[in-house]
Each structure stands twice: as C-alpha cells, then as structure tokens.
C-alpha cells in the first residue's frame, strides 16, 4: 500500500463528509504525504477540534496500525477510488466517500430491491413484507434494508431464511450495532450477506444518521419497495431519495383506514410509484424471469387441507378457524403446529395465521 492510499484511508476514521475529504485531498495537490497534510490549513476545511485531532494522529505508522486493527475486527474499507466501490453510488451527489463493510461485496453487483417501512407494522404489513422479501430473494434479488425494527428486520430475516442474499445499511458504526437487539441478525447478515456503513466502526447512531443512511439504501438498490409506512415516517426520506436518484418506487397498497398504509397508498394514488400486489410485477419490471417455486404436491391430511383452504382467503385467527373449520380445538391446534413446522403457514403476533 502506498502512502497515498494510506493517507486516504487514514482520513476515514474521522466521519468526515465526502466533500470535506475531497477538499482536503485537493488541498494536498499532487503530494499525498503525511508531512504535507500537516502543512495544509485544515481549520479552514473542517472544525478546529477535528483538525487538531487529524493533525495529532497523522503519521504513516499510526495509519498502518489503524488499518490493521480494522482488519482484525473483520471490517473492510472502501473509498470512492476503489474499484469495488458500488458503481450505483458513484454518480450520486451525496455519495459517501468511505464505506465500511463486513461480508460479501459481490452482493452489490446483484439486482437488488430495498424493502423499507415502519418500525411497527400491522399484521398485514408483516405478512406482505415477509412475502415480498422471500419471493424476491428466491428469485435472486438481493434485499437491501436498514436493520431497523419492524419491516426492515422482517425483510432481512425472510431473505436469510429462504437462503437468499441481503444487505443491511446501518445508521451507526459496524461495531456499534443499533438497535442492540438485532446483534444476532447483524452477525448472521455479516456471514451470509453484507453489512455496510459509512460511519467509522465505533460511531453511535444519531437522529441524523438514519435519514443519511436512507440515501445509501435508495442509491444501492434498483428499486425501493414500501410495504407499510405512515405519512411522517422516516421512509419518506427513502422514497424522496429514490425518486431523486431515478430509482423505481414500488408500494403495496393497503387498507385506506390503516394509517400505516397511508404512504404506500399515497404513492400509488399520486403516481409517484408503482402499486404492486405481487412480487411478480416487480420481477417483470426488472426483467427477471420469475420462477415461482412450484406448488409442491403437498401431502396434507384431511384436517390440514381444511385449514389450508381456509387460509387461502386471508390470514385468520384461531377462533375464526375453529368456527369455520368445525374441527375440535385440540385437533386444530396440533394441525396448525404441524403446518407451521412444515413451513406451509406462518404465525404472527396476535395469534394470526397465514399461508407462506
């Protein structure tokens, strides 16, 4: 690694905006050396504290240790000049100068859809997020999202569960996963998919970092799918970025009296995006041959068949199933568990069951 690279990577640890980094680099002229850095009037570009910090640490030896430490943490580093840097981000105005990553970078070359939405989805929102994520992932589309509660994590999990690929873009550093409850999920994504962040590993999340990471989510994807979100949701940012960047916006229409469906419904009505009712429409729009997994000839017992037929008309809770199926409650319960274990139905909070 030459001194130029070393110097550029060295700057990654100060969470500087891309334009600041570029200003510093242009101030250096053609001489990329640590000694030159000390002579540049940094205070004019960045704040005094930041400048002091940069100057106090600037040495090639320090930069080397810093990069070694990153490597030990299993964290990779990309800058705008690297050939691995995602091409989709390059033309964007606010593209991040640095990207920290954990996992498989080749995922960025796959066709991708971002699935985003509210942190507190309704049963319907859970169901559709899960279904779209699974069906898209099964067709070789990488699912991009933000590791947040609700729709984000449902989409990640659904993709992982069916063996698909998923990318999580964080609003915090890679070593400071937020929310902490999703540590397990983050670990799994790092192994099976890709974790990305523009922040240096120990940075904690702030109010501002989430809208900022939404631009990366929108930028990285070929299209953004909004399953459920309110009108004041952070998802608005993702939609706006997607529209700015010319990405296709997809929305799943919902009940008009469910406030969580307000944003998708508005997108559909105003024509900002495309209303979709199945993953097939998205896949067609992306020119991907959809290969819906063929309905396996399932071996169902009489009772199981009754239950599956009932669920084909929508998610139902146990009481409704009991009433309509005329099965004894014990039989029904064991039947539902069997179907769940076989992966034919899934169960949602509030005791609702739906077909996968």
């Amino acid at each position: 690694m030459n001194e130029k690279q070393l110097l550029i990577y060295f700057l990654s640890q100060f969470d500087l905006a891309a334009n600041k980094v570029e200003e510093i680099l242009s101030a250096l002229g053609k001489d990329f050396s640590f000694s030159k850095l000390c002579s540049v009037k940094l205070e004019k570009i960045v704040s005094k504290t930041a400048a002091d910090k940069i100057l106090s640490l600037a040495s090639s030896q320090y930069a080397k240790t810093y990069l070694e430490n990153l490597k030990e943490l299993g964290i990779g580093l990309l800058c705008k000049f690297d050939k691995d840097y995602p091409e989709k981000l390059l033309p964007l105005e606010e593209s991040p100068f640095f990207l920290f990553y954990k996992g498989d970078l080749s995922l960025l070359k796959m066709p991708s859809i971002a699935i985003v939405g509210t942190r507190t989805p309704s049963a319907y929102g859970r169901m559709v997020s899960e279904r779209f994520a699974r069906e898209l992932a099964q067709n070789g589309v990488a699912i991009i999202s933000g590791l947040a509660y609700g729709v984000d994590s449902i989409a990640h999990r659904a993709a992982l569960e069916c063996g698909g690929k998923t990318v999580a873009v964080l609003g915090s550093g890679l070593n400071n996963i937020y929310p902490a409850q999703h540590l397990d999920l983050a670990r799994e994504i790092a192994e099976e998919g890709l974790l990305l962040s523009e922040y240096c590993p120990s940075t904690s999340a702030t109010k501002y970092s989430f809208p900022a990471r939404n631009r990366i989510i929108a930028g990285l994807s070929d299209g953004v799918l909004i399953t459920e979100a309110g009108l004041k949701s952070g998802t608005l940012y993702t939609r706006d970025f997607a529209l700015d960047y010319g990405r296709e916006v997809y929305a799943v229409p919902g009940n008009i009296d469910n406030c969580k469906s307000d944003l998708p419904n508005e997108i559909v009505c105003s024509g900002q995006g495309m209303g979709v009712t199945s993953s097939k429409a998205i896949l067609e729009n992306m020119n991907i041959d959809s290969q819906q997994p063929q309905k396996k000839n399932l071996q169902l017992s009489f009772e199981e068949d009754v239950v599956v037929k009932l669920l084909e008309t929508g998610a139902k809770d146990m009481d409704e199933l009991e009433k309509k199926s005329n099965l004894a409650i014990g039989v029904l319960k064991s039947c539902l568990t069997m179907l769940e274990i076989r992966g034919i139905i899934s169960r949602m909070p509030g005791g609702l069951f739906c077909l996968k």
């Binding site: 929310p179 406030c259 009481d319 319960k333 064991s334 274990i341 509030g350 005791g351």
Partner: protein, 509 residues
C-alpha cells in the same frame, strides 16, 4: 388457692398445649400474667376482671398471678381470656366449679361477660385432638368450624355465666353434631361458570389442560379481552377438594381470620388475586409472627396474578421456591414456620405496556425498547416454571351476543376429573399427584415418544426456534393432553398441540 386449666396456642398451622395456672393468694390486690404474653394477653387482665364483675361473680380482691406454660413460647391473641376467667373463678370454692379440668377452653371475653369468636379454632382443635384431648369449650360462633372434626366433644358457649352454669351442671349443653363435609361441599356453587364466557375457545382449552395436569399458565392479551374472567372461572373446573385438602385450606384460612364462620370450612378451591401493588411479605407470608401470605391462602387452589410484569421483580422472584416445592418457610425473629403453598399459578399480562401489540384492530404505541423492558421483568427461572402460555384475543361484539351454547364448567370438569384419575393411578407409588410435578426422571419414564413424535419435536425445535428449557415442559403438557384423551402413549398430535402453548419461548416478540 391454685387452679389449672388447659388451652391451646398456635405456632404456624399447628397448635400446642398451654397450661393456664392461676394462683390467688392473700396480699395487696394485684393481677399479673407471666409466660411471654403479648400485649393482647396482658390486656386480658382488664377484660377478665370486667367480665367476671359484670357476670355477677365476685372478683377476688387478692393477689392474682397467671402463668401461661410453657413459659418460653411467645403467646399472642385473646384466645386465653375464657380459660383465665374460669381458672380465677374456680379458685373461689364458693363458685362451686369442680370439673374445670375436664375441658380445654378457647375464647375471648367481652366486658359484659359474653364470649366472642376467635381465629384459628380448626387448627387448634385438630392439634388438640391429636394430643389426646377430647372435650372443649369454644365460642358459639366458632361451632360450625369445629363440627367437622370427628372424635371430640365441642361445646359452644355464648357467655361466661353460661360456661359456669354448664360446668356446674345447672345448664345442659349438647356437644356439636358432627357435620359431613360431603353434604356441605355438594351444595357449593361457584358464582362463575365457563358457560358465561363467550368465545375464547382456545383459552378454555388451555385452561382445561392446566386444570387437568396442574400446570401453571400465563395468559397474554390486550386489556379487556377477558383474561381475569377466564381466570376466575378456572377453579370451577378443578377437581373437588377432598376432605383432607379442605382441612388444610381451612386451617390456613382460619389462622388468617379469613374463614366464613357460618360455613365453618372451606369447601371450594380458594382463588386469591392480590393486587400488583402487593408487597413481597403479603404474598409470601411474614411479619414478626410469620403470618401466612397470599400464596399459602391459595394453597390447593389458584393464585391469580393479574398484570404479571407490574409486580415488583423481587416479588415475582420470591415465587420461585414455592412454585417448585409447594411449601414456603417463613423465618422471622419470633418464629420460623413452614406453610403449605401448593397452588396453581395463573398469570396474565398485556403483550406490551399499551396493550395493543399484535392487535388486529388497534395500534400499538410502544417502542420496541419499551416492549423489551416490559417483558424482561419475567426472568428465565420464572418462565421456566410456567408450562402453558396462551394468547387471548379480544372478543368481538358478535361473539358476545351470540346465542351459541357454551360448554358449562361441569362438562369440562368431568373430563378434567377423568384425566386426574389417570394421573393418580400413574403416580400412586410416588409422592406427586399431577403431571406438572414430574421430575426429570419421571418425565423420561412416563413421556416416552414414538419415532414420529421424536421427529416432530426435533423439527419443531429447529424450525420454530424453541428454547431448550421448553423441552421437558412440553413433554409434560403433552402427557396431560394425552391423558385428557385417554391415550396411553403420547402421539405426535399431542406434541404438536403442546408446542402451540409455548408462545413466549418463540422468537415472537
């Protein structure tokens, strides 16, 4: 002059003999009670003197000393008033009492000489009988309570004069006629019945299983979904109390002064629902004299903890040992007492602080962190002791108004009784009575699975991400479900149903 009569004192749920020795001698007028008496007993001086005087007896103007032996046991309460008065009166030969030693006396005196009801008659009499005493004089109001004990003669008195007349043979009293427990308990009616609960089929099924196997149960559901009502109906499907069980329960209730004196015995399974502001001590028992707490009052019955996570964490944790052992040992400076506390725990909670998480029609306003915090109040060890978790959903208006005949408690109880009979047969050589109390070895022995069941369980653990601690609980519940169906072996369908009762183990929240 010296007189000596017998009375009984309580230590926990057991009684012990107390000799009331009275010495009336010449000297300056003085009344002294010795023998580690508490304030209530010390004050007996005034009650006894007034009662004697106002009953038109002569109160000796002499030096009176009363000793409560054994002298090293702390004694409390006003139970000894009657005994002390009789002992003083029999010191004076003019009163003509000769057979005072034939009886044991229990009762509190009032200034006008009437005898007032006391706490703990039943446990006192049972212990006294076991110590070989046969004849007792007790307050009339406590007579029903005494009527359930066979092999003793109990006379009820309403005043000091009546007592003296009876002792002198001037008034005839008949010992209380023995009551048959079966006659009373057959007449018992619960105010609640499952036929009043509309819908909620799943919850009812789960409660049936809990009743059949003695399993503890947790209900999770939004406010107003009927969790409390379901819990209140739960005792109605539990097997009837046997006489022995009823005596155990009555003893504790009698000590706590919670007994219905008209009925005299507890013949329905107790249902206790302390509020979530309850202190730890009120639940476990305690105080300077180690009184029984709510969990002991719920012995052989149901302890219902509504809004489970709202109890202080410490309070919830103290339930761990009694849930495991069925007894609680309360140690205080004055006494260390072991109370029975063999209850079924029914707990209920909302899925989140606002209560609407996962609801179909209402929006939950809690953040994920709030929900996590709310749920983290329930520690692993406590969840370990709760076999069945169910989700209770709101009932719709149509369901409420439906005219469908709901199953009555009596019908459900028949099935429960059958399943219990199977368990009694299974455990006849061991010390347990229900599936929920099986230890690891017994679980292995009685809950063997066939190949299909094993496969199902293995798949379930992998696919549904059940925690390992669920394993044995699951088998025990499956055993009960099989018992309800009268199956000798646990089949795959039983396992499958049991799995559906582990919602808190799932990565559900």
């Amino acid at each position: 002059m010296l007189a000596k009569v017998v009375s009984f004192g309580l230590k926990g749920v057991d009684g012990y003999k107390i000799d009331i020795e009275t010495d009336v001698s010449n000297g300056l007028p003085h009344f002294e009670i010795v023998g580690l008496a508490d304030t209530a007993i010390k004050e007996a001086k005034e009650r006894v003197r007034s009662a004697i005087k106002n009953s038109a007896f002569e109160y000796p103007i002499k030096r009176i000393t009363v000793n409560l032996a054994p002298a090293d046991m702390k004694k409390e309460g006003a139970v000894y008033d009657l005994g002390i008065a009789i002992a003083i009166l029999s010191c004076n030969e003019e009163n003509g009492i000769k057979n005072e030693r034939d009886f044991a006396y229990l009762g509190e005196l009032s200034f006008d000489g009437s005898v007032k009801k006391i706490k703990g008659v039943l446990p006192l009499l049972i212990s006294a009988r076991n110590l070989g005493y046969k004849k007792f004089i007790v307050p009339k109001e406590n007579l029903t309570e005494a009527s359930f004990i066979s092999g003793i003669e109990v006379y009820g008195v309403s005043s000091l004069i009546q007592t003296v007349k009876f002792l002198k043979g001037e008034e005839e009293l008949l010992p209380v006629a023995a009551c048959k427990f079966e006659d009373i308990s057959a007449k018992q009616n619960y105010a609640m019945d499952f036929s009043h609960v509309k819908g909620q089929k799943m919850a009812k099924r789960a409660l049936e299983i809990a009743a059949a196997g003695g399993h503890n149960l947790l209900m999770i559901g939004p406010p107003g979904s009927g969790k409390s009502m379901l819990a209140k109906c739960f005792p109605t499907i539990l097997p009837d109390l046997t006489f022995e069980e009823a005596l155990e329960v009555t003893k504790i209730h009698s000590i706590a002064g919670e007994l219905d004196l008209k009925q005299g015995i507890v013949c329905t399974r107790p249902f206790r629902s302390p509020h979530h502001t309850a202190s730890t001590v009120s639940l476990t028992g305690g105080g300077p004299n180690s009184k029984p707490g709510e969990i002991s009052l719920a012995h052989n019955g149901v302890l219902f903890l509504d809004e489970f996570p709202e109890y202080t964490r410490h309070t919830i944790e103290t339930l761990r040992q009694p849930l495991e052992d069925g007894v609680i040992t309360v140690a205080r400076s004055n006494a260390t007492i072991t109370y029975p506390a063999n209850f079924t725990l029914i707990a209920s909670m909302n899925p989140c602080p606002c209560g609407n998480y996962g609801s179909k029609d209402r929006e939950c306003k809690c953040s994920a962190a709030q929900i996590t915090k709310y749920l983290s109040k329930l520690s692993g060890p406590i969840m370990d002791r709760i076999d069945i978790h169910i989700e209770v959903e709101n009932v719709t208006y149509d369901q409420l108004k439906s005219r469908n005949e709901e199953e009555s408690s009596a019908q459900i109880k028949q099935r429960v009784d059958k399943a219990r009979a199977i368990q009694l047969e299974r455990f006849k050589n061991s010390k347990i009575y229900s599936n929920s109390k099986m230890n690891a070895m017994q679980t292995k022995r009685y809950c063997a699975l066939d190949r299909e069941g094993e496969m199902l369980l293995k798949n379930a653990f992998e696919r549904l991400k059940l925690s390992a601690r669920a394993h044995d609980r699951l088998l025990r519940v499956a055993r009960t479900i099989a018992d309800l169906e009268g199956e000798a072996n646990i089949l795959a369908k039983h396992i499958a149903e049991a799995i559906s009762y582990r919602s808190m183990d799932r990565k559900y929240f």
